[in-house]
């Protein structure tokens, strides 16, 4: 799942658009989703689905699967909101809460759409370079960049270890989970020693700073116009309280 979504972020049709624009777009929509009415939220959800599936060309199966994962949490919380308990532990269905639940669902799905739009259209390092320009402390930035690189080293190691376990009919017992975690932990030390040497060999020592380079992007007028008009429309809708 990690690798799949990450790959989409690099290969989708909207990758070439400046990351700042995508981040701003998603962020503005997120604010409207949080503050707006259910109509606004529904529009955001549908509009972003068009962006994700239509413009970015993310397969609808991937979209549906990710949506399902979110729905899981939402559905799990619904009974707690709908069922009411009074002091004598009398359980009853609270119909007045139905409206709250519905608005909660529409807000969550809309807000989630904003997040998902961002993550399938913008590669992680490019999102980070936006953060970097927003003057996020460099210690955090370096941690983000290095961590991101190593996530895929460990993911591959974990995957291969797991396949090797399965090849010998293992991987079914929780003790095997422990073994796998232990092996991965060993890898940390091993990689750490090796990486440290390799970096020293390249003359990197002392601060060990990380400076992202500029990626070249272009602005797509067609998408820009749609975004601006759409955002204005939604803003107007929220203002008149539609």
């Amino acid at each position: 799942m990690i690798r799949q979504l990450d790959t989409i972020a690099y290969n989708n049709r909207l990758r070439a658009i400046r990351p700042e624009q995508k981040v701003l777009f998603a962020f503005l929509l997120l604010i409207m989703a949080m503050a707006g009415s259910w109509k606004v939220q529904a529009m955001i959800t549908v509009w972003l689905a068009i962006w994700i599936i239509g413009y970015a060309r993310v397969s609808w199966k991937v979209y549906a699967k990710a949506l399902g994962a979110v729905a899981l949490f939402l559905l799990m919380s619904v009974p707690a909101l709908l069922v009411s308990i009074d002091r004598s532990f009398h359980v009853s269905l609270d119909h007045s809460q139905l409206v709250t639940v519905m608005s909660l669902l529409s807000r969550s799905i809309a807000a989630w759409s904003c997040l998902f739009f961002l993550l399938v259209t913008t590669p992680f390092p490019e999102m980070l370079s936006v953060l970097k320009r927003m003057k996020v402390p460099s210690i955090l930035m370096e941690l983000f960049f290095f961590t991101y690189r190593f996530v895929f080293v460990f993911e591959k190691a974990a995957e291969e270890l797991y396949v090797a376990m399965k090849a010998r009919n293992g991987g079914t017992h929780w003790r095997h989970g422990g073994m796998l975690v232990f092996q991965l932990f060993q890898k940390i030390w091993h990689s750490y020693e090796a990486l440290r040497l390799a970096l020293w060999a390249r003359g990197v020592s002392g601060e060990m700073a990380y400076v992202p380079t500029e990626t070249y992007h272009k602005t797509n007028k067609r998408y820009l116009w749609e975004a601006v008009i759409g955002l204005s429309l939604l803003l107007w809708l929220s203002m008149i309280g539609g």
Binding site: A157, L161, A167, R168, N169, T172, Q183
Partner: protein, 274 residues
């Protein structure tokens, strides 16, 4: 022994890797698979004991068409042992003895039988001195040796090896190959993937050439490597011995499999011309 018919496979959301592989691994032969990196060799190996399930196509093991039910898989995986390329990502247990016991635990064996098999493997692979060592204290060559032992302790009928000789030095390679030959002589069919074409020429009974997700050529190594032209097209090298031989005798169609055979043939030719 193992037959694949028109096997297609694509990773989820990825491009197609196997594009209609058909091959037959006969019982009791030394088989080698060659092909450049990225042609689908590793993916093919993951199909040999059901770790991946083909999108379409059929796989037969000992004449039986394989389904992917739990029981079938368990038996199948016990009978086909795979040694993967990178030992760092294959050894799971913290101790050498646990690593050996790992597969046996799941074969549903009695304890006494398990111990017997362990003892046998310990002797065969000379592992006694390492028994209580943690796996991460071993060198890369020793780890590779251990992965082989941990697979062979299960007594598989088919042994599949992915790049068994990479990163090993000559002495380690020689020892590894000797062991593989022992295994073969004890009745296990062997299938391996390698880039070392000189080794393939000397060792293999059957060579499968893979290119772009298909088996494009198969046969005895002497025949395969005698045809330089198609090999170059698939970015494969001709064995050094073959190119020496072709340089010496451009009109010979046979190829010697090793230096001794070459010497012998040359003597015969010398006698013939005399």
């Amino acid at each position: 022994m193992l037959t694949m018919e028109e096997v297609y496979y694509a990773y989820p959301d990825g491009p197609c890797v196997l594009k209609g592989v058909s091959l037959h691994i006969p019982d009791g032969k030394k088989c080698a698979l060659i092909g450049h990196n990225g042609c689908g060799k590793t993916t093919l190996f993951l199909h040999t004991n059901g770790l991946l399930r083909p999108n379409s196509g059929r796989i037969y093991w000992n004449g039986e068409k394989m389904d992917y039910r739990r029981q079938t898989l368990q038996k199948w995986r016990r009978e086909v042992g795979i040694v993967f390329q990178n030992p760092e990502h294959q050894l799971v247990a913290p101790l050498v003895r646990d690593e050996l016991a790992f597969g046996l635990h799941h074969a549903g064996m009695a304890k006494s039988e398990m111990e017997e098999l362990m003892e046998k493997a310990l002797d065969e692979f000379g592992l006694r001195p390492w028994l209580d060592k943690p796996v991460h204290h071993l060198s890369l060559g020793q780890k590779k040796w251990l992965t082989l032992a941990a697979v062979m302790v299960m007594n598989p009928k088919l042994l599949v090896l992915d790049e068994p000789t990479a990163y090993l030095d000559r002495r380690q390679i020689r020892r590894f190959v000797e062991k593989i030959n022992d295994i073969y002589h004890n009745g296990t069919t062997v299938l391996l993937a390698t880039h070392d074409v000189d080794f393939v020429l000397e060792w293999a009974d059957i060579v499968f050439v893979m290119h772009d997700g298909q088996i494009v050529m198969q046969g005895a190594p002497q025949d395969i490597f005698a045809r330089q032209h198609p090999l170059q097209e698939w970015h494969l090298d001709v064995p050094l011995l073959a190119s020496v031989w072709k340089t010496l005798f451009p009109h010979e169609t046979r190829i010697p499999r090793n230096v001794e055979e070459m010497k012998q043939w040359m003597n015969e030719q010398a006698l013939g011309t005399v």
